[in-house]
């Protein structure tokens, strides 16, 4: 019995968002994707979700480079709140953002997905496998 994986994508570039959707489709994942354009919007979405009692979020996919609040600042707030301390987070990263990835790791991320998205990318494979597993639970 496959379930729908609930994903919150925090990403400001709509092409990158489309790219993720296409990859998830190619993966054959059943998913519900909510998109926040930046960290502030993401916090508001999380808050309203809790209030409305929506079904639990499975994971957050987070872009590190965003206007207003950037990815690391968002992570700090996220982990500071006990409701969201254990939520799984994958960061979207280009191959050259080594320092950012290391910093993000300090906030306890579950892995990363490399841009541009390729399903056979060694770095991204863990993330994709996890999502498939969540679907098949």
């Amino acid at each position: 019995m496959k379930r729908i994986v609930h994903i919150l994508l925090v990403e400001d570039d709509n092409l990158d968002a489309m790219d993720l959707k296409r990859s998830l489709d190619k993966l054959g994942l059943l998913y519900k994707l909510e998109i926040a354009k930046n960290g502030e919007e993401a916090i508001r979405t999380l808050d309203s979700r809790d209030i409305e009692g929506n079904s639990a979020l499975d994971l957050i996919i987070l872009d590190l480079n965003m206007p207003k609040m950037n990815g690391l600042e968002f992570l700090q707030i996220l982990r500071g709140n006990e409701r969201w301390r254990d939520t799984k987070v994958f960061v979207l990263t280009t191959s050259s953002e080594n320092e950012d990835r290391r910093a993000a790791a300090e906030f306890g991320i579950s892995g990363y997905i490399v841009k541009p998205l390729k399903l056979n990318n060694a770095g991204s494979i863990d993330a994709f496998n996890l999502m498939i597993d969540l679907m098949n639970m």
């Binding site: 570039d13 990158d16 296409r22 280009t94 841009k115 541009p116």
Partner: protein, 495 residues
């Protein structure tokens, strides 16, 4: 704190010394004048004594001549009397010239003169006259005997002689005393002059040494400090400054040095900031441009993947062209990123075996089966920064492989040892580079190939140049069209 200007101090010092020497010279000159004067006195006094002795001898001659004549009536005796008397007249005249009237010598002389006169006029002449007349008659003989008795026997002549002798004794003694006094005076003067000269000279020497020490310390120590400060600056430390509160020429120099160091420091800080800004700028720009490029690439891919059948063939061709340009743009951005990262790493030094380094690089070369890499044996081991050196070799070798135009070819690496640096040579027998482009190829993005035909970031040589420029090293190329190329760069011995 010595406030006078250095030039004035030096002048003053020399003036003082010159003054001292001038004084010494003057004193010695004065002394020689005194010696001259003394000499005159002694000479004159000698003449006076000589005359006086001669006068006394003449008087003896006159006495004996007179006596002889009076006794024997021989005119021979009269002659000796006459000549002695005449000479004494002359002597008296000369002595009158030599002796000053007002002195005691002068008085004695006039006494002697008077006595002499009375001896001649009162004694000798009457007696001679009487004697000459004596033979003429008895009464004259009697008169003569009478006179003889009165003058000579009774003792008048004796008294006169004795008085004369006393005067002469006094006269001579005075003269001797004068000579002695003069000699003593002269000796005292000489002694005194000697002492004064000695002390003046000693004083001059001491002052000279003091001036030399003072100048040496006052000037040399400050100059050394300035030299140390200048060395500091050329060593890269621009924060140094000197304290100097004086007003002289060296203080002005110190203040100028301080100002220069400050300006240098500010300019260098500014330069460093600008460089950092530039690096950061390049980093941000290339990074931020990648996102939209990726977006474009994505969209083109999606069209090609999902709508190949809906889209006319011409449009697909155009899409392929777009993809090609995107790749070129990405390459150039990567090139900019690499270029801006040059020089960011820490300058850590380690032992590097160049031979081993090159062998490792063999694996990283582009696949070109016909190309052989020959590495000269005996390449040095260096204590140096490994990564920059590795980057240079990589870029030069990759170029040699990439641009080779023949199916078979050789790339040679060898070196030459110079006094302070090594020269490394990377030689290939590829297409070569025309002389006109030897400078251009080191400029970023300047490639000599067809832009479409070749995958190249265009920064390989620019990076090599930047690494070497940062370290004040050199690179040159020996090449001509169709004649292969040799790239030669320098690297310091032991870092």
């Amino acid at each position: 704190m010595w406030l006078m200007k250095i030039s004035y101090t030096i002048l003053l010092g020399f003036l003082v010394i010159l003054l001292l020497f001038a004084t010494t010279t003057y004193i010695n000159y004065q002394q020689s004048e005194q010696i001259d004067a003394s000499n005159e006195v002694l000479i004159r006094s000698g003449v006076v004594l000589k005359h006086s002795n001669r006068f006394q001898r003449n008087i003896l001659n006159m006495v004996s001549g007179l006596r002889g004549y009076l006794l024997t009536n021989e005119s021979f005796f009269l002659q000796s009397y006459d000549s002695a008397m005449l000479e004494n007249d002359q002597i008296l005249q000369e002595l009158a010239d030599l002796v000053e009237d007002s002195t005691s010598q002068g008085h004695l002389l006039s006494d002697i003169h008077t006595l002499n006169e009375s001896w001649i006029e009162g004694l000798a002449k009457p007696l001679i006259l009487a004697r000459q007349q004596a033979n003429k008659s008895d009464s004259s003989m009697k008169a003569f005997n009478h006179l003889y008795h009165i003058k000579l026997v009774a003792g008048e002549e004796r008294n006169l002689n004795r008085t004369l002798q006393n005067r002469f004794k006094a006269f001579s003694n005075n003269e001797y005393a004068t000579r002695d006094r003069q000699r003593d005076l002269l000796n005292a003067t000489i002694a005194r002059t000697g002492v004064i000269s000695f002390y003046l000279t000693l004083f001059s020497i001491i002052i000279g040494i003091c001036i030399a020490i003072f100048l040496a310390h006052h000037i040399a120590s400050r100059i050394s400090r300035m030299v140390r400060m200048a060395d500091s600056i050329s060593g890269g430390n621009y924060e140094v400054s000197m304290t100097d509160h004086g007003q002289d020429e060296l203080s002005a120099l110190a203040r100028a040095l301080n100002h220069m160091a400050k300006v240098l420091s500010e300019n260098i800080s500014l330069l460093k900031r600008k460089n950092a800004e530039l690096d950061q700028f390049a980093h941000i720009v290339s990074h931020d441009l990648k996102a939209p490029l990726r977006g474009i690439d994505n969209v083109v891919n999606w069209i090609q993947e999902d709508h190949a059948r809906d889209v006319p063939e011409k449009v697909m061709e155009y899409l392929a062209l777009i993809k090609g340009r995107i790749i070129r743009a990405e390459n150039q951005l990567n090139g900019i990123l690499s270029y801006s990262r040059v020089g960011r790493g820490l300058a850590t030094k380690e032992t590097v075996d160049v031979h081993a380094l090159l062998n490792e690089l063999r694996e990283d070369m582009p696949v070109r089966p016909g190309i052989t890499l020959e590495i000269q044996p005996g390449l040095p081991r260096l204590f140096t920064e490994k990564l920059p050196l590795q980057q240079i070799f990589t870029n030069l070798l990759v170029n040699a492989y990439k641009y080779h135009d023949k199916p078979e070819g050789t790339v040679r690496v060898y070196f030459k040892e110079l006094p302070t640096v090594y020269e490394f040579y990377i030689e290939d027998n590829g297409p070569g580079i025309p002389q006109a482009y030897h400078q251009k190829i080191f400029v970023i993005f300047q490639t000599l190939q067809d832009r479409d035909a070749f995958e190249s970031t265009g920064v390989g040589l620019a990076i090599v140049r930047k690494i070497l420029d940062d370290r004040k090293l050199t690179i040159r190329v020996v090449s001509d069209a169709g004649k292969g190329a040799i790239f030669v760069f320098t690297w310091p011995k032991n870092g």
